[in-house]
């Protein structure tokens, strides 16, 4: 049985900064994962629907606009509403350290800020999947 880690890389909100998301997408691909990129300007609903249809193991969201405290928890709420508890959700981008505990409390497993080597992210994903590989 072939088992691939599938990841949705998503850009929720009106934020147009996509370099980081693309860097992450390529790094995950190079680590052997299958990456579905949503493109820019996604609503939380679109992110969650795409994650369901693609049956991903991981949702990886990137936000640099400052709207993370609103958008990340909104995605977590939608997942809870739909009783989806086996998807690992991580975030990244320009996110102040002070905001990170609140995001984790909302269910974001980890937050990766500028300067984090992509190998750290890859390792975290591999070690924290909620569905067995």
């Amino acid at each position: 049985m072939e088992r691939k880690i599938r990841v949705l890389v998503a850009k929720p909100g009106l934020d147009g900064h996509d370099r980081g998301a693309k860097v992450i997408a390529r790094a995950l691909r190079d680590a052997g994962m299958e990456v579905i990129y949503t493109g820019l300007r996604q609503t939380p609903e679109q992110v969650v629907n795409a994650a369901i249809q693609e049956d991903v193991d991981v949702i990886a969201m990137s936000i640099l606009s400052g709207a993370h405290n609103h958008l990340f928890p909104r995605v977590m709420d939608l997942l809870k509403e739909k009783k989806i508890d086996d998807v690992l959700v991580v975030g990244g981008g320009v996110i102040p350290d002070d905001d990170i505990p609140g995001l984790k409390a909302a269910g974001i497993a980890e937050v990766f800020t500028p300067g984090t080597p992509t190998t750290t992210t890859i390792e975290f994903i591999r070690n924290n999947l909620k569905r067995k590989v």
Binding site: R29, G32, E54, I84
Partner: protein, 367 residues
């Protein structure tokens, strides 16, 4: 919660998670998929399966996005399987087709699934056929398959789709030669995208000329036999002075026939080739006509009985292919490798002759 019974009832209800999870089982070649596929077997065969193929960058994903829009406006539920290549080095993939279609993510009449080739050649992933069956059982009216788009090796799609749309574009230079080589074997409906660009009229003329040449030379095409059967139906119609019920209910004679360009070169019978349709996927121009043509093709397949014929041929091929796959896999085991080596030594040492060794191998594979 994901036992096969609940997956099956979920699929039948069109539940996205059940559909998605079942496709994952298929992609992993999980034995659990067999019970699901068996249970839905009676539910399939209703959807119109449309393949979109053409070179990378020709606009297949953008076109699919617009086809979704047009088909939805006609009240149809549509599923998409979009295939992109896996990296042969890392096994990873960036599946980028969805970006162009993501606006439909909120529409529960649309389901989009990205599939990586995972080393499979031929333009599709191994899981595509069974993914299509799951979509079909889930009640989608149309199923669109976007192939990888690597030109001549795109052979799988003609074994899966009822209607294959071949997308060409201006400005490909030498690549057009690659399309030319396989053009008449692959396409049912022909589309020249990026019609907003210079040179699109020339590409349309070239494709028409190729199709006409193919017909005059009696080359194998996907459409010649279909058109002959259609002509016969029409002739019967004319003599009986009424429409055959199947043809008229499908609207075949209102629209379908009009879409074929009939030309009569001196000394030849009427020459019928498919229309070559210009589209600009960016704006949606021409897409409504393209959908008309795709649907006219389906109507023609239904009216002539070719739909069943084609699906029958495809299934025969798939059965043979799946068997070959199984045999190949059985050759991969460690025991089998030792047996192969032993038999090779026996032939080399002239203890056995080649066909004797082959017979022994065949016997033990069957056992």
């Amino acid at each position: 919660m994901y036992d096969s019974a609940s997956l099956v009832s979920g699929i039948r209800k069109g539940d996205p998670r059940s559909i998605a999870r079942s496709i994952t089982l298929v992609e992993r070649e999980d034995p659990a998929r067999l019970a699901v596929l068996k249970a839905i077997n009676a539910d399939i065969g209703h959807a119109h399966i449309v393949g979109i193929t053409g070179p990378p960058g020709s606009g297949k994903s953008t076109l699919t996005d617009k086809l979704l829009k047009e088909l939805r406006s006609r009240g149809r539920r549509v599923a998409v399987a979009a295939i992109d290549p896996s990296s042969p080095f890392t096994g990873g993939a960036i599946l980028g087709d969805r970006i162009r279609m993501q606006r439909h993510a909120d529409d529960d009449g649309v389901f989009i699934r990205s599939l990586a080739t995972r080393g499979h050649l031929g333009g599709l992933s191994r899981a595509t056929t069974e993914t299509v069956r799951i979509f079909d059982a889930a009640g989608f009216d149309d199923i669109i398959i976007e192939t990888v788009g690597v030109g001549q090796s795109e052979v799988d799609i003609v074994r899966l789709a009822d209607t294959v749309v071949l997308v060409s574009v201006p400005g490909l230079g030498d690549d057009i030669q690659a399309i030319k080589a396989g053009v008449m074997e692959i396409g049912d409906v022909f589309c020249v995208n990026k019609a907003d660009r210079d040179g699109s009229e020339r590409v349309i003329r070239e494709i028409r000329a190729m199709l006409e040449a193919a017909v005059m030379n009696g080359a194998a095409t996907r459409f010649s036999a279909l058109y002959q059967a259609l002509d016969q139906l029409k002739a019967v119609d004319r003599t009986e002075g009424q429409s055959s019920p199947r043809a008229s209910s499908s609207g075949l004679f209102d629209q379908g026939a009009a879409h074929h360009i009939a030309r009569q070169p001196p000394g030849h019978d009427a020459l019928e080739i498919p229309a070559v349709i210009p589209t600009t996927a960016e704006t949606g121009d021409g897409v409504s006509r393209l959908v008309d043509e795709i649907k006219a093709h389906e109507a023609a397949l239904v009216a002539t009985g070719f739909l069943r014929l084609r699906r029958h041929e495809n299934l025969s091929w798939e059965l043979g292919n799946a068997l070959a796959d199984r045999v190949l896999r059985r050759l991969e085991g460690e025991d089998r490798k030792i047996e192969l080596a032993d038999l090779a030594s026996a032939v080399l040492d002239k203890r056995k002759d080649f066909y004797e060794a082959l017979g022994i191998l065949e016997g033990s594979l069957a056992g």
